[in-house]
Symmetry: C2
Subunit: 405 residues, 2 copies
Amino acid sequence: MAVGLGPLPTLHPVAGFELGIASAGIKRPGRKDIVVMRCAEGSTVAGVFTLNAFCAAPVILAKQRVQGAVRYLLTNTGNANAGTGEPGLVAAARTCARLAELAGVDANAVLPYSTGVIGEPLPVEKIEGALQAALDDLSVDNWAAAAAGIMTTDTLPKGASRQFQHDGVTVTVTGISKGAGMIRPNMATMLGYIATDAKVSRDVLQNLLLDGANKSFNRITIDGDTSTNDCCMLIATGQAKLPEISETSGPLFAALKQAVFEVCMEVAQAIVRDGEGATKFVTVEVNGGGTHQECLDVGYTVAHSPLIKTALFASDPNWGRILAAVGRAGVVDLDVSKIDVFLGEVCIASRGARAATYTEEQGAAVMAREEIIIRIELGRGACRETIWTTDLSHEYVKINAEYRT
Amino acid sequence: MAVGLGPLPTLHPVAGFELGIASAGIKRPGRKDIVVMRCAEGSTVAGVFTLNAFCAAPVILAKQRVQGAVRYLLTNTGNANAGTGEPGLVAAARTCARLAELAGVDANAVLPYSTGVIGEPLPVEKIEGALQAALDDLSVDNWAAAAAGIMTTDTLPKGASRQFQHDGVTVTVTGISKGAGMIRPNMATMLGYIATDAKVSRDVLQNLLLDGANKSFNRITIDGDTSTNDCCMLIATGQAKLPEISETSGPLFAALKQAVFEVCMEVAQAIVRDGEGATKFVTVEVNGGGTHQECLDVGYTVAHSPLIKTALFASDPNWGRILAAVGRAGVVDLDVSKIDVFLGEVCIASRGARAATYTEEQGAAVMAREEIIIRIELGRGACRETIWTTDLSHEYVKINAEYRT
C-alpha cells in the first residue's frame, strides 16, 4: 500500500563500506534477518539514538561504542531486544563478541542494532550461527539486499543515493532505512544507515547527521509511538581521494551537507510512504508561528489526530477536524481569527472560519489525491515547521492487531 | 458495542428542573434532535467549557451567559455550530432569542449547546420551528428521553442518579451525558447536564463542578481529540426544603459532594464505555509519580498510543508497547529500573524488564477480559492519577471514515 514509493533507485556503492546479509531464522526460517556492515579502517562514524527512556539494550551498547573506533555494525530483525533488562545487554554484547572474534577485531568495534518484537529474549545462538555467512557475503554492491534485509512490517525496501564531483573526484552518499510502525522518531528513526566515502572528522560528521536527521527523520510520524530502538548512523570511510572535509571547506562541505540532507530526507519520507496501512502521504506545513515549538505542537497535533487521519483515509474534506486539532494544540493565547487553513491550493478556513470561497467539491478534489498538503497559517510570527505523516486505515488496525500472530 | 453499559438506571426527577424533547430534522427528518431544559426561578447554574481555542459559537455564548441568571438550556444535535465565525454567533443568539420570546424570559437567560458536524451553518429556521413543541413537552420526568435526545454517534443513552437523606429531606442529583468520539475533555465533556434540588450558591456550585469534572470528565479519553463543543453544566434548583449548602455545611456538603462526584464519574465513564468502536473499557492507573503532571503524561501517552489500543482490541498482551509508551512520555530523568507494570493482577514488567514470573498465558487471560486495568508504578514519589479509555478497533476507523456520508 506504499504511497508514491517505487522500486529502489540506483544505490551507488561507497568505497570502504561493505554489507553482508544472512538468515538466522529468528522469526521465520529462511528469512533474511541479519545484516552485517563493515567500515574500512579509519572510518569515522556518527549516530543519533532514540530518546525513549526504555531504550533497547543494543541502543545502549551502540551509543557507548560509537565514541570509539567502529568497524562493524550488526543488525537483526524479528526481535528488538528491548525491555529485556540486564540479560538483554549481555545477549547483545555476546553477539557482538562473536562477530568480533570471527572478524578478528576488538569486541568494542562492533555495534549492535535490533528491531522487532519488544520484550522477548534475543535468540543469541541463532544469530551467532548466521554471522559467518553474513561475513562471507560482504560486498560494496549489497545495498539493495541490505535494504531488504532490515525490513520488518515494511512492504518495500527504502534507499537513496547521491553523488557529486569535486576537483574531478566523485563523492558518494548512500543510505537505507526501515520502519513502518511505531514511528515518531525522536533524534533518529527506526533504523537508518547512511555512508559516504568522504573523509570527515567524527565531530563534523555528528553535526552533519544531527542537522540532517532533525529536518527529516525527526519530522516524520506515523502513529506518534517513538520506538525503543530508533537509530540512525552516518559513516564516512574517507576513501574518496579528497582532503578531510570540515565546516570551513566551503563549497565541498556545502555539497556534502546537501547530499547527506537529501539522502536523509528521501529515506525518511520513504518510511512514511510505506507507513503501516498508509493510503496517503500527508505534508503538514505550519507557517507564521511565534516559535518553532508552537509550529511543531500544532503540526504534531494535526498529524496524530485519529479523527483527521480517518478523514484522510476516507478522502473526506472534514476540515472542521483540522480546526479542532489546531485549537487544542496548546498554543498560548491563540487568536483563531488570524488563522488560515489550506488543503492543497484550496483555502478552506479564512480568519478562523469557513472560507467564503470554499466549496465541498474543491475540498473533495484535493482529498482524493494520494499526496496531500495541509497548510496552516498561524499569523503570529515568522517560524515554520513541516511534518510528514500518513492516514489511519483499516489496514493499520489489522496490521497492529495481528502483529504477533 | 458499548462495554459494560446497560439500559439507563432509574433517573430520579429533580424538583424545579424540567426537560422537553422535540424534532427539528437537522440531519434526518423525525429524529429527536432538540432538548430544552428549564430551571426554576432562583436556580444557580455552574458550567465548565472546552479549552479548545476554536471553541464553538454556543460555547462562547453559554460561557458569557452562565454568569447571569439562567432559565433555559437549549441543545441541538446534528450541527456543532463550530468554525462558523461571527455568523455562527448570530445564529446561536437567534435561536436563544426565539426560545426566550416563546417562554417570556430575557434572551440572556437562555444558554445554547450544539453538537454534531463542525463547520456547517446552523439551520436556524429548523431549530426555531421545533422550540414550541419542546416547550410543550417540558416535564421533570423526561430525563431518559433527554438522554436519548442529545445522542450523536452514541449507541446508548447515558445517565446516573443519586439520592441522600438529610433531616428527613431527600436530596437528588441526576445527570446525563453524551459523547463517543472526539473525546478528550479538557475542563468538561462533550455534553453533560447534572441537576440537583439542593440549594447552593453559584460559587460553591462552580467549585463542586470543577472538583467533580476534574476527576471524571477530565480523566477520560477516547481518541485524544478535545472537542470544540465540550460543556458540562451543574444546576441547583434549591427546591429541596433544606438550607443553602456551602463548604461549611459539614456532613450535608460532604453528602452532596459525594453524590455529584458519583454522578459525574458514572456518566463520564459511560462515555468511554460507549466510545466509538470500543470493545474494551480500560483503566490506566499511574502510581508513584513525583508530580501529578508526570502521572498524567504517562497515563495519556499509554491511553493514546495507537499501538497499545490496537493490541487491546486484539486482546494481545503485547506489553512491550506499554513499556515503550512509558519510556517516551517525556518524564525527566526517568529511571526505568524502578518501574513495575501490571496488567490486572499480573506483574508483566518488574524493575523495567519482563517479570521473571510472567507467562504469556497470564497476560492473555487478562487481555481477554472486557474491562482491563493497566497499572504503572513509577517508583518516584507519592502522586497518582487514573485515566479511562478504550481500544482502537476496525469499527472506530469505519465510524470516523464514514461519519459524514
